[in-house]
């Protein structure tokens, strides 16, 4: 097997899309944690991080579909199409391909619930979304185990890089959770931060500087006032 020919094209495509999918899934995971903790990327507004997370996850699925279909089309080994979604049905590398199928199924559940998120309760959506933390390690195990590609050389370095990036993001997420400001205190904290950024507030010269006196508006807005 040296060089891409019409018979080896599916095989090369399958391997390449698999590697790209692993990288994409890692990025999606990191972005997901960023979204969850309301983190930012330099130069991007927060909602753009959310959009990037969503779009890259959909793109990863496209790569995984190509990865599965080309593996099936490849005549060198025989893998039934059904093994892409039903685990442990392939004669070839049954265990490792089974892990891939499990991981893919979990991703489909995540995406399906996200597409109908408006109709689900937040709790259900969130519970399903937690499955991402199971899906990624299973996909990673599949990547390492299913072929020898990622077991040496540059691709091994890439796989290790993905794992390190994910571990770092996870550590950051946990630290950030521990430091979380309680909901009731968040707004005043943000306001204090904003006024710190804007510098000390100055006031204009005016004939009437008496700020402490209450205005001539109605005193207590909760008390019934005169009616006419």
């Amino acid at each position: 097997m040296n060089g891409i020919t019409s018979s080896t094209l599916p095989w090369y495509t399958s391997r390449a899309t698999g590697v790209v999918a692993l990288v994409l899934l890692t990025v999606v995971m990191v972005l997901g944690m960023l979204v969850n903790r309301q983190g930012r990327l330099p130069g991007l507004p927060r909602f753009a991080v959310t959009n990037l997370h969503r779009n890259l996850s959909l793109m990863a699925v496209v790569f995984i579909v190509i990865h599965v279909v080309t593996a099936v089309l490849d005549g060198f080994v025989s893998i039934p199409l059904i093994s892409g979604v039903i685990p442990f049905t392939s004669g070839y590398e049954g265990f490792w391909l089974g892990l891939g199928a499990i991981s893919f199924d979990l991703m489909l559940a995540l995406i399906a619930t996200s597409l109908i998120r408006g109709r689900l309760s937040r709790r259900v959506w969130k519970a399903v979304h937690w499955l991402a933390y199971a899906s990624w390690p299973i996909a990673f195990a599949h990547s390492i185990g299913a072929s020898s590609d990622l077991q040496s050389g540059l691709l091994l370095a890439l796989a290790v890089g993905c794992a390190v990036a994910l571990a770092a993001a996870l550590a950051w997420r946990l630290v950030s959770m521990a430091r979380e400001v309680p909901r009731a205190e968040r707004v005043s904290a943000m306001l204090a931060a904003a006024s710190g950024r804007a510098g000390k507030n100055r006031s204009l010269p005016s004939p009437d500087r008496n700020r402490s006196q209450p205005g001539p508006g109605p005193g207590d807005p909760r008390k019934p006032t005169a009616v006419s």
């Binding site: 309301q38 507004p45 927060r46 909602f47 408006g118 109709r119 689900l120 309760s121 937040r122 309680p182 909901r183 009731a184 205190e185 968040r186 707004v187 005043s188 943000m190 306001l191 931060a193 904003a194 006024s195 950024r197 804007a198 507030n201 100055r202 006031s203 204009l204 010269p205 005016s206 004939p207 009437d208 500087r209 008496n210 700020r211 006196q213 209450p214 205005g215 001539p216 508006g217 109605p218 807005p221 909760r222 008390k223 019934p224 006032t225 005169a226 009616v227 006419s228």
Partner: protein, 441 residues
């Protein structure tokens, strides 16, 4: 029953048939006996849905601020099946509004009649009246007594529980209210599922503002034709307004929808709105819009007229800002309050409103740099439509109108000047802010 006025008999004290809701003797709560003498017994229909057709013909819309057709909400709850829950929403969270409190204080039985009739129409078996801080105090005492009187006189068919709303701006928001009645904090949640499908205790829930309930009680008695005798064809009936005059006085007025604004704010606007007494008019409260005094002099009290100028009527707050006050300073105070009243749940609101508030505060000071205004406008655009509730949208609407209406003042500030003679705060704002979760319960 009161003397007939106009073509169709019904209550009303003036030549124009108003006020309808408020009792004749001002500032004295109307007791059960007087209420029954004036309006007669509660006209139960003894069947579900009977009243909904009348309310559709009357064209009554919700008076809590959203002006949503009452019959549609009721039909949705009635069709949802099960045992619906009925809530009268009197949590008037807007600090500048006082009409619901006044109505509950002066005519509690009219509101409670409406609560029973609406509950019957949708087949509700349980009901609550949700009002700000009624564990103690005179209003809570009055409502508790009214409810027990009605229950022992067998006027009420559905038992009404009195629920106390925390003093938060968002406490009156429908989903926040449902959360509180379900034993949680009064925080707004995601819109889906809507409360008419799944609200208190998971039951389909009908929420109507207390003024709306009072109108329902009158439509049930006097019919849609009577109801349409005042107001415009598109927006019939009357509404309660809280008017803040430029001289600092405030009053509650029941006005026909479509009334010219100068009639309500009186001489403040002058014949052409140019008498110098009023700088601008805030319409619709702190989620509403500022209108220059000249423009306000041409407006009428209806949503059609307000929509044409990009505003909303909301819950009927109309505040005339005196000419000696700085509109930017007032807007900055209000937006700071709005930012502090954010539930702190959605990113755009939590991150956006404090920045906008700080930007406005800079603009209300001397020599703000020109990019601050552009920043505030951009942030106002960024937060719109992106919260679980309408708090960011309403706040952004208020900010945009302030920047537009006070743009001449802004140019003064850029030169280090302010045209206001007084820095005393004008618009009413509560002193305390939420710091703990309990402040939302």
């Amino acid at each position: 029953m009161s003397a007939p006025q106009g073509q169709v008999p019904g209550p009303g004290f003036g030549p124009d048939g108003l006020p309808r809701l408020l009792p004749p003797s001002v500032n004295v709560p109307e007791g059960l006996r007087d209420h029954l003498a004036r309006h007669g017994f509660v006209p139960y229909r003894n069947a579900r849905r009977q009243l909904i057709g009348d309310l559709e013909a009357a064209g009554l819309t919700g008076r809590g601020g959203a002006a949503f057709p009452v019959y549609r909400k009721m039909a949705a709850v009635a069709e949802a099946g099960g045992h619906p829950f009925m809530v009268g929403n009197g949590a008037e969270s807007e600090p500048a509004s006082n009409k619901d409190m006044s109505l509950l204080w002066l005519a509690p039985h009219l509101v409670l009649d409406g609560l029973q009739l609406a509950a019957e129409a949708v087949g509700a078996t349980e009901a609550a009246l949700y009002v700000h801080e009624v564990e103690a105090g005179p209003l809570g005492e009055l409502l508790r007594r009214a409810l027990s009187e009605r229950w022992s006189a067998r006027i009420d068919r559905v038992l009404v529980r009195l629920a106390s709303a925390p003093p938060r701006f968002l406490a009156g928001q429908e989903t926040a209210m449902v959360n509180l009645l379900n034993g949680g904090l009064a925080l707004p949640t995601y819109a889906a599922p809507r409360v008419f499908a799944r609200g208190v205790g998971g039951a389909p829930t009908l929420v109507q503002n207390v003024e709306t309930l009072a109108h329902i009680a009158l439509v049930a008695r006097f019919g849609p034709r009577w109801f349409r005798q005042v107001g415009t064809a598109a927006e019939p009936g009357s509404m309660l307004c809280t008017i803040h005059h430029a001289d600092g006085s405030a009053r509650i007025v029941e006005a026909a929808i479509g009334t010219p604004l100068p009639e309500l704010i009186g001489a403040d606007l002058g014949p052409h709105g140019l008498d110098g007494g009023t700088r601008a008019v805030l319409i619709g409260g702190y989620h509403g819009t500022w209108v220059p005094a000249v423009r306000a002099a041409e407006l009428t009290l209806d949503n059609a007229a307000m929509a044409a100028s990009g505003g909303i009527l909301g819950a009927g707050v109309i505040a005339a800002l005196p000419a000696n006050r700085c509109g930017l300073a007032e807007a900055a105070r209000v937006v700071r309050y709005l930012a502090l009243e954010s539930a702190g749940q959605c990113g755009p609101c939590l991150n956006g409103l404090p920045r906008i508030a700080e930007g406005l505060s800079t603009l209300s000071g001397p020599r703000p740099s020109p990019e601050v205004r552009a920043d505030v406008e951009r942030w106002a655009g960024l937060v719109t439509g992106r919260g679980a509730c309408s708090h960011p949208d309403g706040s952004a609407r208020f900010v945009r109108s302030a920047l537009a209406v006070f743009s001449a003042e802004l140019r003064h500030h850029e030169q280090g000047l302010c045209s206001a003679a007084s820095q005393r705060p004008f618009l009413p704002l509560p002193a305390e802010v939420a710091v703990r979760d309990e402040d939302w319960s």
